[in-house]
Symmetry: C2
Subunit: 345 residues, 2 copies
């Protein structure tokens, strides 16, 4: 067992972990380990938004173009794509790129990314909405967690997975896994605001915004386990995700998307994730640990894992980031007013 | 809103609370406020144990005698009594006295208490078991919490109840309400051990033992609320209490009693409480926040409170103490080996 905080990011503490030094988690989990040379990563969400089905030709083209841009020497180290229909009835498809070299991202962004949802962009006359949501946190400012040895999201860029870590399976574990928590409360400062210039909108960020991507992969489940996931767990998860989407704002959740991962041809996979933009890690913690919708998710998941034990084939993971204002970029072009961080304005 | 830690016990922190300064709990709770002159309280549990029903004459006499000793100038400021049938089939009746003046307790104890379950005691030939479990924590070492304005337990000695407090309704709230948590992890040190001298047994204590008394009073509930408590909440609570009684030891619960409060004539009231002896506050926290049995209790209680809102007539309270070794006394005479802290040996 080792600390979730890698040795080279450990520092003299002014703040304590929530668990004693002899704490042993009741089941094993691992975290992504990046090479010490990696100082910062980029998590970039590029969305398209449209109402009609089937997808308009412009949407298909946009998806092809960004997939094309994700090849070559400035390309992200990993990317994936997910889809969901939002509360306003729009289909949103988001292509998510991960870089572990901000310079390479900047070069890619100058070439292609800035034209995705910028004030002047490639889709101005295409009749679809586009949006860009980027965090570029220092390695002090995010954490990951995995129930299996199959990395997802930013962890695909990592050098590998850790041994079993100590800081998990208790409320506050995510905070304790973020290196910055050794010395900072990571309290939010300020409020995000939206600047509108015609069909172009951008968000002026606040300090210590929190993003969670929390996913599940049931592709490997069979028979009873699959039925248990789909019938006992998934509906409870969906209810919680919908609560955050529809009623999250007063508790600090700016936006929540419960997305199905699609393959590069656009077909649904047996993976999904929730991604949520939060005012602060603290607000996310409060929902997770006290709201009936999340306790129901947690209870269903615990019952599931208790029933199946180590034989469980369901794969779970998440990544949680607390981003400084200077580590955020939000641009929306021709999107409806309830899109992503526009709800924060 | 105010801090659960009274002003005169606040000190420069070396450890942080779990919630940010602008945290607002989702519903109101209060804590007991003692006069600043109170530096230490005594919580003293005096049990009798017998197998036969109806109660043997010796049991009835013992209960009468201790009730008699609870009168006069050295008497506890408050006492109550509760009963349960333990896992070995024995009836246990515990008379619980609370003092806010340790000297007065010591004088009472020299007169009467030491004869309750000491090596030579008043019930040696009576054929019943007796036991004495006493904590005398400094005011830095315990906390209380109330959902109503009706004090119970040690809080009856208090000057009154606080305004609504900030540190509650999140995991870790109990720790944050204990003044010592400002500067100490309150980690357990050592292991309790049992010394047996014939029918007399005592426990050599360890540092930072934790006691929780967590109660409910449904006397004021009516109709739907009463049905909801008795049918939806109480069975879930009972299951959790039985889990701790029967399977608590590996997770750090030395003993757990789910007791019915009885009046001074021995009749059941509509109040109950669980009392648990734990290796540490940390062990109690882990069970409360992650074990399915407690999450079920928590979920049922939250659903209940969400349904009823401020109209709820159910009264809830608890007191949690973390006691230094020198603040503990455990004596057992002629008790079976699974009684209270004897299970720790």
């Amino acid at each position: 067992m080792e600390s979730a905080i890698p040795e080279h990011l450990q520092c003299p503490r002014t703040r304590q972990r929530r668990v004693p030094d002899d704490y042993t988690p009741p089941y094993p989990s691992t975290v992504a380990r990046f090479k010490p040379a990696v100082e910062r990563v980029v998590m970039a969400y590029f969305g398209i938004q449209y109402r009609a089905e089937p997808a308009p030709e412009a949407a298909t083209q946009a998806l092809q173009r960004i997939a094309g841009s994700f090849e070559g020497d400035k390309a992200p180290g990993h990317w994936d794509r997910a889809r969901y229909v939002d509360e306003a009835g729009f289909t949103n498809v988001i292509s998510i790129g991960y870089w572990d070299d901000p310079d390479r991202f900047d070069a890619w962004f100058a070439d292609f990314g800035s034209k995705w949802a910028g004030a002047r962009n490639a889709f101005e006359r295409a009749g679809i909405g586009t949006f860009t949501e980027v965090l570029r946190p220092s390695v002090q400012r995010f954490e990951t967690l995995f129930s299996s040895d199959l990395p997802e999201g930013v962890a695909v860029l990592a050098d590998g997975l850790s041994d079993v870590v100590q800081e998990h399976a208790y409320w506050g574990g995510a905070r304790d896994r973020i290196p910055l928590s050794q010395t900072s409360e990571m309290a939010p400062a300020g409020q995000p605001s939206v600047v509108t210039e015609g069909r172009y909108q951008r968000v002026v960020p606040h300090d210590n915004l929190c993003l969670i991507r929390s996913g599940q992969d049931w592709a490997a489940t069979e028979r009873d386990e699959r039925r248990m996931y789909l019938e006992d767990v998934e509906p409870v998860l969906r209810a919680g995700m919908n609560f955050l989407r529809d009623e999250g704002l007063p508790i600090g959740c700016f936006a929540n998307r419960y997305m199905t991962v699609v393959d590069h041809e656009g077909r649904d996979t047996e993976k999904s994730f929730g991604m949520g933009w939060w005012k602060s890690l603290s607000a996310l913690e409060r929902w997770a640990e006290s709201h009936t919708t999340h306790l129901a998710i947690f209870g269903a998941a615990m019952k599931y894992l208790a029933t199946l034990g180590p034989a469980a084939k369901l794969r779970l993971y998440h990544e949680v980031t607390v981003a400084a204002a200077g580590e955020q970029l939000f641009e929306y072009f021709n999107c409806h007013s309830q899109t992503g961080m526009l709800r924060a304005g």
